[in-house]
Amino acid sequence: MLNKLLQEQIKQHLGTDHPVELTCLFESISDSYNHYQLGKDGKADIDKLKKEIRESKDNNELLETLKESINILKEEDGAALQSTENVQVLQLARLLKEETRNRRDAEKQKLQHTAHLNACQKIVHIGSWEVDALAKPNDPHFWSDETFRIMGYDPGSIAPTYTTFFNAVHPDDRLPVITKLEGYYKTREPYEIEHRLIAKDGTEKIVRSIGEVIVDEETKEPIKIFGSLQDITHRKKIENELKNAHYELKTLFQNMQEAFYSIDMNANVVLQMSKACEEIYGYSADDFLKNVDLLMDVILEEDKHLIYNNYPAMNAGESFKQEYRILHKNGSLRWVEGRINPTLKDGKLVRLDGVTADITKRKMTEIALKENELKFRTLIENGSDGIAVTDEKLNLTFVSNSMLRLTGNTVEEMIGKSVYGFFPQEDMETLNQTSKALFDHPGVPAPIKGKFPKKDGTFFSYEGFVTNLLHDPCIHGFVTNFHDVTERQNAEEALKASNEELKKTNTELDRFVYSVSHDLRAPLASILGAIGYAETETAEPDMLQNLALMKRSAQKLDGFIVDILNYSRNSRLEIKQEKVDFNDLLSDVKNNLKYMGSGHTSVDIRINVNKSLPFYSDKSRISIVLNNLVSNSIRYCNPNITDPFVEVTVELSDSTAKLVVKDNGIGIDKKFHDKIFNMFYRLSKKSEGSGLGLYIVKETVEKLQGSFNLESEPGKGTEFTICIPNNNTQIDDDGSCC
């Protein structure tokens, strides 16, 4: 403004015609002009100015105007030129030049200061502000560039007011801020408050706000309020973190289950001991602080050497770890793990920092585990069962001692080797099938048996199970349990062989008995045939009687042979399960017995089979039973009656066959009922039997799992009832239908 004024004055008063001495004045004026107008209208046109001055008509007017200008400039300094002062134009111009220079320098300096201040503020994140003391909320505030930045604005981008600031204060902090400011207005004491504010971009910041009132020296009334705003977000954050960390550390220290302690080795005192010592040792931290030896005293006498052993390392500044036992104040024994970190100074031990942890539980578990493992290992190693573990590729990862013992191999010869390498070629298919089944059914034991080669080339027989435990994190493999069954198998084979031998012998014996009996019977039959023929060739009574005697003896001998044969057959031969047709069977019996010799021919053999049901049993044994019973009935028929008969009734059901052999013969006295089934027991003196018949009946019925019943009365007759189970039904009936 000043420059424009000057310019106008010069234009007005100097005109085009100007003295040479005014050159300096032009320069001064243009300097001033340049100073103020630089960057606005460009450099002043000196020539134009010179011309204008030259054209000025009234030098006095110019002089006055220059004077006035200088006075305006000097006014502030209070050194105004007096209007009466006779000053030359040139002098004035020089003064003006000087003043302008001074001012320019001052301006430059001020600018420099402002830039400096701004830079400083930016670096330390402190902004400043200023406001008239009486300003209303919406009156403009002065904010420094950094204040703008802290508030989230580009410097100078808005016209800030108190409201702008207040709205940015965090809602939760507005009350304390207002309280503080109000108090400050009253007391006019400088204030300081930390609060949060929300910058324009929404970020939350913590700031420290300091304010001071500038008071009029004379009136003591506030003129301006001046303050600073410091962004302490980062510092605050670190502070908080530090605080938290400290707190956590403290909590940790107090709550750690391990006891932490430090010992000053020079003064030989415990510097600190954490609270956990109460739990571990039973002694308070104070106990330790008072008595440095307590730490060593609580260690079990026999474990102290463990600590002493570490002294050389400790003295060399090496930290160490040691497990040992202590005696708790309550008398219990505890396992602890001590870690000690020594500090040396000039090669001398000055401080120990240690941590003691209660590891009783872990130790006990460890010991239990060790014992358990030892137990299992002992079991596995000493058991006769072999145990082998393979990985998923069937390579052996573990073999028990018993397996090594059985195979004769060493550990090196088995571990890491594929099981395929051990089995003979012919077992490969079985092996593949088994492993497939195992992969398909994890956890399901697959039975195995076969022969395994020993180192010496022989084999042992094994039987056992393989289980796929690949999924088991402890095993991660196939586990095979097996035992050596060689001896058992040998015994079994021997038993089988001897059984076969016995069977063969039995068959041979049977065959032998038959051959012998045949060889005995054949001549007897010949004799009987010859006797029979001779009887027809003579009418001589004596001869006939002799022949009859011969015949009876021969028949008795024959009966005896048949009985022995039947007995041997019943006791040795296996029971057959075959279809029995009682009609056929009984007609055979009838046919067999109808030639039982003279005197018996008159006995009527009657057969009743109630119905035809499929019946399964041992045909030849039933035949023996019926033959014996019917022949007895014929043999012991009552000679005094006219219609001797023997009646065989068969009642079939799904479960049994009930056979009733009833006669009207001489009968048996009750007192003999128990005895007649005994071997070789004969009731009648004139008996033609061997004394084996009923014994064979009893034995055979028992063999057929049947039952029998006898009812007989002398002179009336005899009734045998036999029940034989029908094996068709597979019902294990005891046949007790009688």
Binding site: Y514, A522, A525, G529, Y533
Partner: protein, 138 residues
């Protein structure tokens, strides 16, 4: 008493025991069971006879009484060989077992043969001849 077999002139007895051959011949002769009784002491002799007379039907026996237990070739072995003879021979002859064997198996096995008509327990007597007559020639 006569127990003549109808339409049966010739009976062959196959038995290793001389007494049995003798008794059989005696009884059959006595009761006029057949006109002629040929006795052979082994199954081989029997086969030889049958083979040598296979083209002379009139000379063939109509009944063969066959023992089982014989040395070298048993009655069952004979049956096996007999099966190989020409139909003509087999049609002419009826076989009846005559044995002292008590083995039920023997009895069953014999009766399974299509050529065996009956099974008789020794000794032979007129009653048994009657049975044969009834069972095999009626």
């Amino acid at each position: 008493m006569e127990v003549a077999a109808k339409n049966c002139k010739r009976v062959m007895v196959v038995d290793d025991a001389e007494i049995d051959r003798y008794m059989a011949e005696k009884i059959m002769t006595k009761y006029k069971f057949a006109e002629e009784v040929i006795t052979v002491e082994s199954a081989m002799d029997a086969l030889e006879y049958l083979t040598s007379h296979q083209n002379m039907p009139d000379s063939l026996p109509c009944l063969i009484l066959l023992d089982i237990n014989m040395p070298e070739m048993s009655g069952f072995d004979f049956l096996d060989e007999y099966a190989k003879l020409p139909e003509l021979v087999k049609r002419k002859c009826i076989i009846v077992m005559l044995s002292s064997s008590m083995l039920p198996e023997d009895h069953e096995r014999a009766m399974l043969s299509p050529y065996v008509c009956d099974f008789l327990d020794k000794p032979l007597n007129p009653v048994k001849l009657q049975t044969v007559q009834a069972a095999c020639f009626c």
